[in-house]
Amino acid sequence: MEFHSRTFPRIGDDMSQPNDTKPPKWLLRFLRFFVKKEYLEEIEGDMEELFHDNVEQKPYRRAKSMYTWEIIKLLRPILIKKLGGIHPIHLNQYGMYKNYFKISIRGLMKNPITSFINLFGLAIAIGFSILVYGFSHWNYSMDQFHKNKNEVYLATFFAKRDGTVQEFGLTPKPLGEMLKKDFAQIKNVCRVEDENVVLKYENKVFHERIRYADPEFLEMFTFPLKWGFSKSLQDLSSIILSEKMSVKYFGKENPVGQRIQMIFENGRSKSFKITGVAEEFPEAHTIAFDFLINFENFRVPETGFDLHDWNKFVNATLIQVDHPSDLMAIEQGMEKYRILHNAAAPADWAISYFAFEPLATLAKRAGAIRESISSGTDETSVMFLTMVGGFMLVLACINYINIAIVSAAKRLKEIGVRKSIGATRKTITVQFLSENIITTFFALILGFIFGIFVVIPWFEDFNHFSMGFTLKDATLWIYLPALLLFTGIASGLYPSLYISKFQVVEILKGSIKFGKKNPLTKLFLVFQLILACIFITMAVMGTQNISYLAKRSWGYNERQTLYVSLPDQSSFEKLNALMLQDPDVLSISGSRDHLGKNNTTAVIHLPDHQFEVDQLSVQANYFETMGLQLAAGRLFEDHLETDKKTLVVNELFVQSLGLKNPIGQEFKIDSVQYRLIGIVNDFHSYSFFTKMKPTIFRVADKGSYRYLSLKVRPGTENKTYKSIQARWSELFPEIPFEGGYQEDVWGDYYEQMGRGASALRVVASVAILLVSLGLYGLVKLNVTGRVREFSIRKVLGAGIRDIAYHITTQYLVLLSFAVVAGAPLSYVLVKLFFDTFFTYHVSISYFGVAIAVAILLLVVVITVSTQIRKVLKSNPVNGLKAE
């Protein structure tokens, strides 16, 4: 070892240390910094001796790292310098801060009620802020776990629809393959398509949605496999499952190697071998899969599959380049594909130009891309939550400011003494600010616990999702101190500046009576009351909106109808024949599309522009079965062959086109003329979230029926539902039944609305709580400061009315100010809120505002009356005896 260390030059060592038998200088400096002066010589010597011993036996690097470790291990209380204390060399303000700390703890202990109000209020607000953080973080980390997120792009195109240029996430079928051939810069191309199939494993049969993808899918996206190999997707009969689906079919066992049967929509089936199971997807994803099979399998269900048809689309085409800068050249070369597509496709579907959206920003932009592979993020909710969280913080901070200003009167003497023994305004400000940060710190701890164990689980529970909140997230640990500093300074800056302003002489002379008459306190209180007014109005209107939505008509008879989704055309005939015998069934219709389930779109050609509408292809009696009301004209006739060239439209269609005499007008769709024969009343095809659209009905070919809908005798819905299910399993034992009550097609829409309203109520309750806490603190301090006044009044014979009058008046005046400013403001904001978040909602009336004002009045009266009671019960002698 000795030989080694002396012969070889030591590369990479500190060059400023030519004599490398010396320990590194900066470490020595550090040692000198922290070791007690009286021990320094001895310890420094010991360390150096040890270092020399080590250098002789070991390489310099090793000796150096050992030396470093030894130094770190020297950091023991008994060996390091006292901070401040006897040798105030460094951090000589330590003693001062220690005093501030002590004083603030004493202050917190001395006024348990005001401390509680401050701590509790801040903690609640901070709890909400943690939720806001968690939710925004979840939203902004959407799809960010993909390693290639900056190199993978979704190919999109812009096209003109309804007079505006819109972006679409679809791509013409041949594009993917041609891109790969034509551009050397493109490393990988992946086409994605989705389809509903029936999957069968042993006795488990389910309807599933599978994803066709090129084998590069697993290379471009970061979805590591738990079992199996991702390369196996190259094989045409391989299937890769998500973790969830693996559990659904196989429990906890490793299913790799098992075979699973897939029945496609056209009835053809194919056996797949499971070759992989993906690890559980990160919570924040908008792109994933249940089942993944090779894209080429697309030929199985679609016999006339033509990959070169520029008029057909795939759900998504993704490309991967080596470097984002390569994209420029590709974008410029897209023109020829545009020409190819536009030559093949009808003029309605002409593409204006192609574009590419990086995976990194796809989720965020998905809302603006139609039919995008990514479901996108929820920006409006983030905004709303941030606003609520911000308001809560403001409410809590105002409570703090008000209480701090008012209770400063109690600390006048302390400030006077501090100032007279040399404290400057700056040091007093720093004192109050640091006290405040200590309070906020406790609130932060409480709020953090509250946020993690109450607010986030509550939020996740009623929204049925998990935002994957983790303490391991590094930005959280930046956010928390930032929140601490922000809250601490926002709530403490004004009081500390205000308090530190006063002159010593005046304080000690006792000629200052500040705190009680601060106009800002009143302004803040008014502001808080206004905020609370807004929140309460919102909650009241939210609750009213629920009953409104429950009563709002769907525009057709959703309660008396059932529907069944059909696998093929023959199944309609079979089921129709059986169900017609059921006496409870009043009417049966077939349709290609179905209300609340799906529709297609059509483009209407008008002389000056094109107009996109929803389209439903149905049997002639569909209107009767579904209970759609005819407004004008006539409906389809069953056996009229000519009706194939006619349209029935909804009122919105007529309105949107501004037609004067709609019946009999002709419209061109896909170069065929159609005549408008009837108008039905407007109806909600999808939930009240979705805006009603101009819709046309056309007669469907019998062969295209994919839905069977039934109108049943009232009260027999349940019975008929069971009977269809039974008939179904007799007719088609291989295919699971898919259908249900028409009432249920909106999924958990009403439940979701109900949850939204209850969230608003929770927010409003918290706001009321915060305001009443703050008000309570103010009133209490006000009353305590006026003990003598009230005692004298009582001695002179003041009764309950007089006392109540003198305490209550000022607060009622403030409340009326708040109402005058807050009521119209609440009305406007709540209207704005409902217009933003609801497509259809209850008309906003002053009722909600009135309720809000009544609640606030009640809160003020109750809060104030607790103090009136206290004054009335107290003995005036005690009040006058003091001092």
Binding site: E41, E70, K73, L79
Partner: protein, 112 residues
């Protein structure tokens, strides 16, 4: 006994100081004890034990010679006080008493 508060590690260091006599300074104590315990010790642990015992009155110390190897810094030579000797003796006696009160074990140990 209560007043002394001599920890197990402190006792070991103290005994080492006594054993080393005139050469009992930081690094030497560390070296000696490492050899006997057959484990690595840090300067920090030795130093804090020494300082603590000095405060409790088990040790006194004075500066010794300075060497080139120490970068010209003087050693601090430790020596045990009378009080320390007394406590050490007491501890030994208590231990011996306890050992003797375990007849089975002391016989067993004797036979080994």
């Amino acid at each position: 006994m209560k007043k002394t508060k001599l920890g197990e590690f402190e006792e070991l260091v103290l005994l080492t100081v006594v054993a080393l006599q005139k050469v009992a300074y930081g690094v030497e104590i560390k070296r000696e004890l490492e050899e006997r315990l057959n484990e690595k010790l840090s300067v920090g642990s030795i130093q804090s034990a020494l300082k603590r015992m000095e405060q409790k009155g088990f040790l006194t110390s004075e500066f010794g010679e300075a060497t080139q190897k120490r970068g010209g810094k003087r050693k601090r030579i430790y020596s045990a006080t009378f009080h320390a000797f007394k406590i050490l003796a007491e501890l030994k006696e208590i231990r011996a008493g306890l050992w003797n009160s375990i007849p089975g074990l002391s016989q067993e140990l004797g036979t080994i």
